[in-house]
Amino acid sequence: MAKISFQDFSAYYKLKKKKYVLSLNKITLEIPSESFFVVVGPSGSGKTTLLKAILGGVELTDGLLIINGTSVENIKKKEANISYLSQEYSLYPHMTVYENVAFPLRRMRTDFQEIDLRVKTVLDYLKIDFLASRKPRQLSYGQMQRVAIARALVKNPRIMLFDEPFSNLEPTLKNELRLTLKNIHQEFKPTIIYATHDLTDAFILGEKIAVLNGGELEAIGTKEEIENSDKAFVRSFLSR
Amino acid sequence: MNKFSTSLIILLFSLSLFVLTSCMDEEILADAAHTYKIWLANSEDSSYYSDYNENVALKYLNTLKFKGRDGKLHHVHIEVETGITGEQEKFFNTMIATGGWKEYDYIDYSFSSYSVTELYEAGIALDLTDYMEEWLPNYMNWLQANPDYARTAANIVNGERRYLTLYSYHDDVENWGGFVYRRDWVLKYGKHPEGSPKAGQPFTGGFDENGTWNDDITFPSYYTELGQIYKENIDPEWDGTCPVFISDWEWMLDIFSTALKEEGITDGYCTTIYYPGYIGTGDLISSFGGGGVMFYLDEEANEIKFGGTSEAFNTYIKMMQIWYKKGWLDKKFAEHTSDIFYQVDMKTTHSGKAGMWYSNISSLFNRLEKEIAPATKGIYVVAARQPINDVYGEGKVKFSKDNIFTPKVFYNTSKEFSGGIFTTAFKETGKDIECLMSVLNFLNEWETEDGSLPGYLLNFAGLTKEQYETVAKPGDMYDRFGLTEGSYFVKEDYSDNGIKYKTNPIIGSNDALRNPSTLNRIVGGLQGPLDKWKGEEDHQVQHEWGFYINSGYLLRSFEGQLGSNISKKRNSTFNDIEEYLEQHVPMMIKGDDATFDREWANIKKYINRLEYLEEVLEVYNQLLNDLS
């Protein structure tokens, strides 16, 4: 559905009044549409900036970032239809689960019955329909994450961005949610870009994996290519 | 957000409801040229009516016809707007500054901080001199009959005497405040003074069976040589039964201190005084040579003087210091800062624990007696005239055979009631201003040839039964307060000494009803031949408090003629002196003789250093010469 390509793309984010940090340095990268692409690397290696760049949230950039043929600057936020999920869940605390999931659809002026139908199907799909009338504060972490996924999914986005969404969940719940992501990818075929510093995540999920370090692209390829790549950093990163 | 929508709906609903109910109800007879708008500073207590236009006497006035500019009789419709108590000066200034005065044809001028001359020069006030002859004859006749008020009724406009203000006057002065003392204590604890036939004997008398009071108290000054001089020159009818001199007062204060001891009152005192240590309008200071403490008129010298550094003021403070030392004066007199000078420390005076104080008529006779306040048992409070100093100081400040004087400067109402100006708005609106003048002239009308009821009765006595019936409406003020028989009656027989009209007893018993049932806010409350249901006791009060005339007191109509920048200087000088005296006079009263002299020197030094004092005195005297 959506092809994303970085051409010599570098991004800066503001450290202090005049000081800027180069967080991405001349990245050229092709993310095929409908692929499950994983970006891996130590924290602060520019993973989050990469995702933010796709959302158009980075102030200062040069080089090109094309999504489906149009450069990221002139994509209007409303039609972008990209979802973003981070560690913080960012659910609306004052709305019930149902309202949280329905919120994006209301903005798209879709009529009431359709909203109700789509929200119900998504909640069933993620097996959290019994939580519909609860408030975020009454949910467990796992349940919150599922609601966040539901909210992202309900507007069936072309691109779904995940920024270490499961890092503070216990292993059993992590596996479960990874499985759900996989099913979502099979069933709805969005382009998924999943940033993480956890290798097991990368190897389980990613069809293609990119290794980032200090804002530069160290390696890119399938699980096997990465495992026996000859790059020094990749090898030391794998052994950690 | 449903909260918003609910409050918006309520807002719209109540708005529409209110617009419906507030439309005017009675129809208007007069045409546009004869509808006038008047602004008055004071309004009536809103328990009578919430809008002055509901005043029944005004409704009656609006049914009459008056001569207009074209000589014909026209119906008029006068709409009256009133000021908010305490906010009038602010309203007046805003109205003048923003041209709001153009809406009004006649404006009450008593709250203006600018002289009428300035209002005239600014093109706001209308010059009435040319209109007086033809349209305001009654007002002119009254001025000719009262020259001392006429003098200040005109304004000096580049050298000439022009009439710019329509003043209104009381026929006689009604005193509502003065010095009072507990005569029952004098009777109980006092002894006949030496020189009297029963010297040393206790007084006799008190309340008789039907509650009237009589006693055989005579004051010591009656048996002195000065007393006889006072009797010959000032008050032949004086029989020594009421205090006249400071010596009488001190004799009483001594009695009061014994009374307090006998009655076991610990939190009372013989007398108290306003917190600055003196009363700014000159009371008690004019007992020392007739002058005042601030600006006052010295009649003999026909000059305006300043009393703040005078010997009279010094001697007065000396007296107070001695009263303080003797324990007669309230130790905490300087702390009652939120009380007004005629209601100082009511907590003590109204519980009967004070011997003598400056009060108003509500605490007279036995009105303070209450079960719950033991010290008020058998209380009988009597009014006393301003005393004359025969004890302290030398020469001019002390009454003697060749220095006979009476107090001339003290706080009292004068005949002058209020003043109004006609605005020049009619030149643009084309209104028939002469017709409005004939209305006000009608309200100044004392007697009529054809025997009909003169106009002043409308503004003083109100409406007769017939007059009321022409405008009666159920639920109006007369109806609610039982005045349907009219607020006064016309008596057929004129037997008792010229009294032609008799007030309705309902108003007699509750004189707060007098103003709302009449029109006397527009033109003064002239009394005229009307009995006022006053009893014998009230006669004694008015006689004592009104015995001396405060001829030295500067009239409002005189002070109002100062230009705005000079009156600003006068006000700032007045405030600076008052602020300084307020702090230093109490020190002199409470301090020893060394402090007394040191502080008096400070006061003199401070006042002489004041910038504008000389200039203000000069302008005052300049104005005095122009006017006389």
Partner: protein
């Protein structure tokens, strides 16, 4: 660390219906003797505070029912309405009768209600908009905040303000009492402060979901700072409930537009002891008016207050308790 968290949650978990609204989610507090001592002292201290605050209003209530002539010279706190010995009933309702005989009181209450409702609504909308703008991290948010705060410092003065309102044609109408004073810079700044406490992630999420500024303002940011917003509404209500000064300037001669506070000021000014004691037999009930007006002026707001309190407390638990 997670294991403890999950176990603690499962063990003490109470479904929301059974949960009492103590927002600690039913956590059991183990009582150390220091904690008990602290609580005892605190409760006693608070009891004193209640006493100190309630007694003066009780004094006002009892004074308003006493006999005016005796109250005039009574010293100290009036614990029970004082009557002269001969009085028939324990309470003297003369003061209230005198007050409500004034026909202006009723139109005053209605007008005040209109003004309070109007200006609070208008003020609240302006507060939210103003607060939202200066709470965003945009270039102009700081200068605009400075502009709003300076409105507190500088005041044009009576005559200039009157001239501006007159130029707008509002003098003499209700609008002069609703629009000009409906809010002040201080409320917008406090609102901005509350908006800054809203977690940034929820706003970003809303932006990603395609929400425009208006939706974010009223549907995402405001509901999360409802407690402070309610306090601002409460302050605005009280500000306008007690205000009489604008009315005394803009509608001085139109008594049918007067709010209750201006009527009260007028009634009190006409019945000062300095005036009513000039009559031979004064009506002492007039001395009670100053106490009666406090009650009728403060009662409506005091009754309204618990509602606001509930709403302020509830402001946060929207997230917790199922409605």
């Amino acid at each position: 660390m997670h294991e403890i968290l999950v176990k603690a949650r499962e063990e003490h978990y109470i479904p929301p219906e059974k949960r009492s609204n103590k927002y600690h989610g039913g956590m059991v507090e183990h009582k150390s003797w220091l904690g008990v001592l602290y609580t005892v002292i605190l409760y006693a201290f608070m009891a004193i505070i209640i006493l100190i605050c309630i007694v003066p209003m009780w004094h006002v209530l009892t004074s308003s029912l006493s006999d005016g002539s005796i109250l005039l010279f009574k010293k100290g706190i009036v614990w029970w309405p004082i009557q002269d010995s001969g009085a028939e009933s324990m309470f003297n309702w003369g003061g209230y009768k005198l007050l409500f005989r004034n026909r202006g009181i009723w139109s005053g209450f209605l007008n005040t209600f209109i003004y309070v409702a109007g200006s609070t609504t208008l003020g609240f909308v302006l507060n939210v908009i103003g607060g939202y703008t200066i709470s965003r991290k945009s270039m102009l948010s700081r200068p605009l905040a400075l502009m709003l705060v300076l409105t507190l410092m500088f005041h044009g003065g009576l005559i200039p303000t009157y001239m501006v309102i007159k130029a707008l044609g509002m003098v003499g109408t209700r609008w002069a009492l609703i629009i000009p004073g409906c809010t002040s810079g201080i409320f917008m700044v406090i609102m901005a402060n509350a908006f800054r406490n809203v977690p940034e992630s929820t706003i970003e999420a809303a932006e990603i979901d395609g929400a425009g500024h208006f939706t974010i303002m009223f549907q995402v940011v405001l509901p999360q700072s409802l407690s402070i917003a309610t306090v601002i509404i409460l302050n605005t209500v009280i500000l306008h409930w007690n205000s009489w000064y604008p009315a005394s300037i803009y509608v001085p001669t139109k008594r049918n537009l007067w709010p209750i506070q201006l009527w009260i000021k007028e009634i009190l000014a006409q019945n000062q002891p300095s005036s009513f004691l000039q009559a031979a037999n004064p009506d002492y009930n007039k001395y009670l008016l100053q106490y009666c007006v406090i009650l009728i002026a403060s009662l409506p707001v005091l009754l309204l207050f618990p509602l606001f309190l509930k709403y302020i407390e509830k402001g946060v638990i929207i997230g917790g308790v199922k409605e």
